[in-house]
Amino acid sequence: MSDVAHAHGHDDHGHHAHPTGIMRWLTTTNHKDIGSLYLWFALIMLFAAGTMALLIRAELFQPGLQVTNPDFFNQLTTMHGLIMIFGVIMPAFSGFANWQVPLMLGAPDMAFPRMNNWAFWILPVAAILLMVSFVLPGGAVAGGWTMYPPLYIQGGISYDLTILAVHIMGLSSIMGSINIITTILNMRAPGLTLMKMPLFCWTWLITAYLLIATMPVLAGAVTMLLTDRNFGTHFFNAAGGGDPVMFQHIFWFFAHPEVYILILPAFGIISQVIPTFARKPLFGYASMVYATASIAILSFIVWAHHMFTVGMPVAAQLFFMFSTMLIAVPTGVKVFNWVATMWRGSMTFETPMLFAIAFVCLFTIGGFSGLVLAIAPVDIQLHDTYYVVAHFHYVLVSGALFSIFAGIYYWLPKWTGHMYDETLGKWHFWLSVIGMNIVFFPMHFLGLAGMPRRIPDYALQFTEFNQIATVGAFIFGFSQLIFLWVVLKTIKGGVKATTKVWEGAEGLEWTVPSPAPYHTFETAPVIK
């Protein structure tokens, strides 16, 4: 992506002997190169896990078993979830952080460039461990991305490989987070105080703390699974004095903050995009920062709302219900602030803005279904049904993924030096937003009517909505090829991008030339 930038860098710094070809990418310590690597990795994984989703939807097009068998179906749902979370959304946000955090702070690079290289290059190893398990005896891991024992104890060799992959991905995230925290706290340009920093940096700073706090918890949980599976321990086996539900408590103590790890950087991107195209400063900057921090802190005390049906005491159920409902307050503040930013602006609707507007609207639908699920008695009816599938896809597809699209269209001209094709971008947007709603909106009705999730075959009354969802899935899936085409086309050429790119753009990244040179801010800018 930054070949051009690289050549440009050579002109300025001819005395560096850069390796070329594959060695350039393997040994790079440049934040822009590593950012691109993360983003390409995420894009490849998006197509891998997306293909799995299409196989799932093809099987669910009609009742009966047609495309898969039940065991392979479970492998597909499990791997789709694991790869989309750990292989797509998280690496994509890391890619944005690598590209944008130093540019936004006026820093020459990340604080620990060599650790940055490692944080990325162990990720493909984890991806290979996950993907090869499809061809191992017994197939890939099929116990759900949540890895609940005792089912997880029953599986074959791929279950151990998955634990190893989770460890590696956790390590990568922790290294990335240390880098981001150190960069943000120590390498801001003179005069750029924390409360002047772009909101994207704030959301990533808070996300990085969440990662450092929760990844070791996940590592502990999966290590206990590993020893239960291989070394005769009984952490989660009642017959040996353990408790299967303890795994769920530990897992969700990680995985609820993880939910915000997957959405806070999205909030950051959207908070950069909307002011640019509304030509008006972000409304309520300080309250955005406080709301982000409140969401992060609350995320540690709500985990058991994923477990309302395990059978917990009344007091615990009430506590987790109330604490979960409370998250609606800071989340609401964010939505109101975005709308207030648009209010009385001077808006234009380029592709990044379209994705940002769709994000605000559709993420809020996911937020409302989240509030419905926070109500414990209603959750008990809807837990493990398609309603939950609808809910988390509204927050992860029209939430996290749409913010990634918005961010790519927004910063791609800065990264490549070319404007993307606006017509193709709009086609990608409209097909994605329509397709996405056709897939996931009917799932609310399926869940309400009583269709459980993670089943390869279903009763006849669920047929119509499943068929609609499958049609939507193929529209959504294939329209991502347009995205790939736009990105490749923009890298190859196009209208030259200006330094500022967007009329309403504000911030240090818009003061360096487009494409951004290989080395930027070797002398720190001064912010008044």
Partner: protein, 382 residues
Amino acid sequence: MKSMSKRAGAAVVSLMASQAAWADYAYNLQEPASRVAQDVFQLHNLIMLVCLGIFVVVFGAMFYSLIKHRKSAGHQAAHFHENTTIEVIWTVIPFVILMGMAYPAARVVIDMKDTTNPDMTIKVTGYQWKWGYDYLNENVSFYSNLSTPREQIENTAAKGEHYLLEVDEPMVVPVGKRVRLLITANDVLHAWWVPALGAKQDAIPGFIRDTWFQADKIGTYRGQCVELCGKDHGFMPIVVEVVSEADYQAWVAKKKGEADTAASDNTRTFDTAELIARGEKIYGANCAACHQANGMGLPGAFPAISGSKVATGPIDAHIDIVLNGKPGTAMSAFGGQLSDADIAAVVTYQRNAWDNKTGDAAQPAQIAAARGGAEAAAPAAQ
């Protein structure tokens, strides 16, 4: 609040009813058949209406702005970027709305969790992949398997009306009685759920959790396992028949008669053909999901029985693995699930079907001996 939510619920329901032409499309929770399900239904309607109201206000404002405040319409950008008063207002108002939702929700939580004073108690056990029911007050026990034929699932036969939601032996309960369920599992997590009764509870191996329901109306209510439990998670439905008290008593008497026959079977001696015929049925209900109807298993996941060392080697080892299972694998211990006569039958079937032509047979007495002294008590009924 309650009466308001009732009225709101009624409005939504009548809206749904007016669209009866779209009969196949269900847009809301199933029609409640118990007080808890009714409360949940109304709670959900209330929250949906509140969310809908907020959605219309917020996005009404946003879309107004998108239309009016666009550059192409010549709108000049204002420069305001904070307003403490309005920010406090839109923090406080949602908080107040949430408190309005929390109160009725908490009442339902407290009602749902109160499992005291039941009229009857049923122990429910999840297995890979069927449900077991023990009526603790009646001494009636049985298993409930999916009854949809394999041919319908594999698309070689037309699908019936209750495809995948039908069982060989439903749970039967009397109408209007407070039924407490003690829920557990034998192997992995499962979850017992009947939407219309508003009862859902995870089944956790090694632990017993409880829930309750009280059905208001006679009828048949269907649900499914809702916690991923492996390959056939989608194929272990739940059917609850709610009947009159008289019908319930008749059903209990019938089940007790069946139990007596099963008990006497355990002390009989069968001839081999009889055992094979009986064993084939047991195999189909308990073994075929993994080891397959042709005995070939699924390579890498579930071993074949046809031609296997266990099924063609010493019979005692074969009986042992069926009785006690194989720890660390999906092979569960059937000793607690099947009677002596059934285990004898299924072992005999496996040793004589497909490529296995051992010609030997196991008798119920051998199974009783293999269970050993202390554990001699086999389940009375199947």
